[in-house]
């Protein structure tokens, strides 16, 4: 008996020590959170339960905003557009970035140059980038449709046809995958080389090596990318605004570019419905959180941490 309780005390002591250590290490973020983030987040949640126009004191309406949202056509439309760009866009962009990272990780002459080139589009400011895209995607004299015509395909009216505006954005997104590629490159450096040597000796094919060594080794990075791209895709804003501007309206042709964050922004800063906009923000929060939780839960099956035992 005495021995057991002694053990329990020992465990508790160890746990407390861990807790102190853990809190010390995470304290920078915790302190920052308490000072800078907690208040705005709580305020936003409170606003979502009020009618608030940014100037007069918020008026409590309970879940009124949430109820109204579910009857708002544009809420659904913007959610649809956002889901579209997320579901169709995220995985191809990621796969593409990984492929590029693998190519750029191979030992070839001029590796540094290649790596820099692939990163360049990420660096080009949006003003220049959007001009180029308007140009490339132009249905009449754009390079893309000219290319398609050369192989006998009638290219669509990318920026005007509501069915094609979102695919245009996704297409454009491939050029912006430079940062993901860079992070994958960094992750690839951590794959122990001896694994490949062993596999080489066993005569495993490159394809097999990728799935048995590379992919599991960089799976923590894949998890990170998946979660972060999900979050940023659900908050898709800038590119949509730039494209919509070309068609001189907030939501683009037939609101096909009315993304969730854009509609939220419009509600908040153009219509001064900050309460409504905050409710939108919290619904998005729940949706993204649910998606993330599902990914985290399933990640146990495909993410391998070298630090795990």
């Amino acid at each position: 008996m005495a021995k057991v309780s002694g053990n329990a005390v020992g465990i508790r002591k160890r746990e407390r020590k861990l807790l102190v250590k853990g809190l010390l290490f995470t304290s920078p973020w915790i302190i920052g959170f308490l000072i800078f983030q907690l208040y705005p987040i709580l305020a936003s949640f409170y606003y979502s339960l009020t009618e608030y126009n940014l100037f007069k004191p918020p008026e409590w309406v309970g879940f009124g905003n949430y109820k109204d949202l579910f009857q708002d056509d544009k809420f659904y439309k913007s959610m649809y557009n956002t889901l579209y760009i997320t579901i169709v866009g995220v995985v191809p962009h990621m796969a593409y970035a990984l492929l590029m990272a693998l190519l750029l990780n191979a030992k070839v002459k001029g590796q540094s140059i290649y790596r820099t080139i692939y990163f360049l589009p990420t660096l080009v400011p949006a003003v220049a980038g959007s001009l180029l895209w308007m140009w490339l995607l132009n249905s009449q004299y754009g390079l893309i449709n000219m290319g398609l015509e050369a192989i006998g395909i009638m290219g669509p009216n990318w920026l005007v046809d509501p069915d094609w505006t979102k695919p245009s954005l996704i297409l454009m997104g491939f050029w912006g995958t430079g940062t993901i590629t860079v992070m994958y490159l960094a992750a690839l450096q951590d794959v122990p080389k001896m694994f490949y040597e062993a596999a080489e000796i066993d005569g495993a094919s490159k394809w097999r090596q990728f799935w048995t060594i590379t992919f599991p080794s960089i799976s923590p990075m894949t998890l990170f990318q998946l979660i972060m791209m999900l979050i940023s895709s659900f908050q898709y804003f800038t590119e949509g605004m730039v494209f919509a501007e070309a068609s001189q309206s907030v939501g683009g042709p037939e609101n096909s570019l009315l993304f969730y964050s854009i509609y939220l922004y419009q509600q908040a800063f153009s219509f001064l419905n900050m309460g409504y906009a905050s409710a939108m923000a919290w619904i998005l929060f729940v949706v993204v959180m649910l998606f993330s939780l599902v990914i985290f839960k399933t990640s146990a099956r495909w993410v391998y941490y070298g630090g795990d035992k």
């Binding site: 907690l38 208040y39 987040i41 709580l42 305020a43 949640f45 409170y46 126009n53 940014l54 100037f55 007069k56 004191p57 918020p58 132009n138 249905s139 009449q140 004299y141 009216n157 920026l159 005007v160 046809d161 001189q248 309206s249 907030v250 939501g251 042709p253 037939e254 609101n255 419009q266 800063f269 153009s270 219509f271 001064l272 939780l293 985290f296 839960k297 990640s299 146990a300």
Partner: protein
């Protein structure tokens, strides 16, 4: 992976809830801490309280925010400089490039400047929300004559029958601009008089190649954007009646959309879309009106400034009117630029003094000469100082600005929702997915509750 257990979710959830109740109040009473103009020093002493008020004889510094970027800021800077030189107790400190989102954030966040220049359609919602100072008292105390201002511009500053801002300048669409060469090639010697005539002109000015593709088009009614104010104005439409009923579906409004739609029926939706996407970029040397791809265009006073001269390639005329309503001749829309004082401005009196200066004939003339814009003080429109040769392309616009048929969209708390709904529904009607009447009925149905509520 049990990273996110149910328990942790529940705990965070309840903490957020209880804390939110504590944090709910107190976000709005922060004016005493605001020192935007004063905290101009380095980051470390940014919190020093405003101390100018203690020194009585010193000049009061007021901060003036505009939307103008450096590219456009020259004329307004000159005006402010002149004010600073001549005024003995106020110094205006101007800050450009302040877009409406920033303006809104700063005013709401308790760091409002003393006076701001913004787009006129912000005034309605901002004023209704209580962010903008009601100018009624200031106007009556100082004896400012509202009647001296172009009525169509001044009306845009009115929300619930009160004036909240002054129209510093205005833009105006009541002209038809056309490519002279296209007209000559089609054998047209003078601009169209009526809208019906304009439609015939458009047919004559449109060319197609052998496979039916448009190679030149006479007119596109929704280029460069769907204009949900200009067209109803031209047809004598309205948006709100005296009883507070919204009237986007009034006969004239619906007619204005049907007229626009008729171009799509005539030339084909796909053909126009396709041709439109191949047109050069607006406002560049490849502008379709300059290249002749497009023959006619709804003209604003800032369009084709050098090219619309006597020997230039662009002709200007009054915009056509409906043949059956000649009394609507000279109709057009105005879109003013508004200056306003925030409710929480620290130096409202000084800001009002500066605002009055901006609205003097002298300042208006000086600004118009340098920026080539339309003054909003009626007297300035006829001022001789503007009738100099280098300002010649503006002359006929000053003349047209005197028209009594100028109009604009009523300003209100829900103006942006209203305009947005109009754009969305007009887009559908122009594409022919629904009729013009249905589209405008939809708008009325959507906006009436807002009009009733606010």
């Amino acid at each position: 992976m049990s990273m996110f257990g149910k328990k942790t979710m529940a705990i965070t959830g309840s903490t957020i809830l209880s804390l939110s109740l504590l944090a709910g109040c107190g976000s709005n009473d922060n004016e005493e801490n605001a020192s935007p103009g004063a905290s101009s020093g380095s980051a470390t002493n940014a919190s020093s309280p405003a101390s100018e008020s203690s020194a009585p004889k010193e000049k009061v510094e007021i901060s003036f925010w505009t939307t103008y970027s450096d590219q456009d800021a020259g004329p307004i800077t000159a005006l402010v400089d002149q004010f600073n030189q001549t005024n003995d107790h106020i110094t205006v400190k101007m800050l450009g490039n302040q877009d409406p989102t920033k303006q809104l954030t700063a005013i709401s966040g308790g760091a409002a400047p003393d006076i701001l220049l913004t787009y006129w359609n912000n005034i309605g919602p901002w004023a209704d929300a209580g962010a903008v100072l009601d100018l009624t008292d200031k106007i009556s105390q100082s004896g400012f004559d509202i009647g001296s201002v172009v009525p169509a511009a001044m009306d845009r500053m009115k929300i619930n029958d009160k004036y909240y801002a002054m129209p510093f300048t205005m833009s105006m669409a009541n002209s038809l601009m056309y490519n002279k060469k296209d007209f000559a090639d089609a054998g047209l010697t003078k601009p169209p008089e009526t809208l019906e005539e304009m439609f015939d002109y458009a047919k004559k000015l449109t060319k197609k190649d052998d496979s039916g593709n448009i190679t030149q088009i006479g007119f596109i009614p929704d280029y460069p954007w769907i204009d949900n104010v200009f067209w109803p104005v031209v047809f004598g439409g309205s948006w709100l009646d005296d009883s507070g009923k919204v009237t986007p579906n009034a006969e004239a409004n619906v007619k204005s959309i049907e007229y626009q739609r008729s171009f799509y029926e005539e030339f084909g939706q796909n053909q126009i879309d396709k041709f439109k996407s191949g047109m050069g970029k607006r406002g560049t040397p490849q502008d379709p009106l300059l290249t002749g791809q497009l023959a006619m265009y709804i003209g604003w006073e800032y369009n084709f400034m050098p090219e619309r001269g006597e020997d230039g390639p662009i002709g200007v005329a009054a915009f056509p009117y409906p043949a059956d309503r000649p009394e609507l001749k000279g109709s057009g829309m105005v879109s003013p630029r508004a200056v306003f004082i925030p409710q929480k401005a620290k130096h409202a009196d000084e800001a009002w003094e500066f605002m009055q200066y901006l609205m003097t004939t002298d300042a208006q003339v000086k600004y118009s000469l340098e920026a080539h814009v339309i003054p909003t003080i009626t007297a300035a429109l006829s001022d001789e100082r503007l009738m100099v040769e280098e300002n010649k392309t503006m002359w006929e616009f000053y003349e047209r600005a005197k028209s009594e048929n100028l109009n604009g969209f009523p300003n209100s708390a829900y103006i942006n929702e209203y305009l947005q709904a109009l754009t969305e529904e007009t887009e559908k009607a122009l594409k022919g997915t629904i009729s013009a009447q249905e589209a405008m009925d939809n708008v009325a149905k959507k906006i009436q509750p807002l009009a009733d509520g606010k």
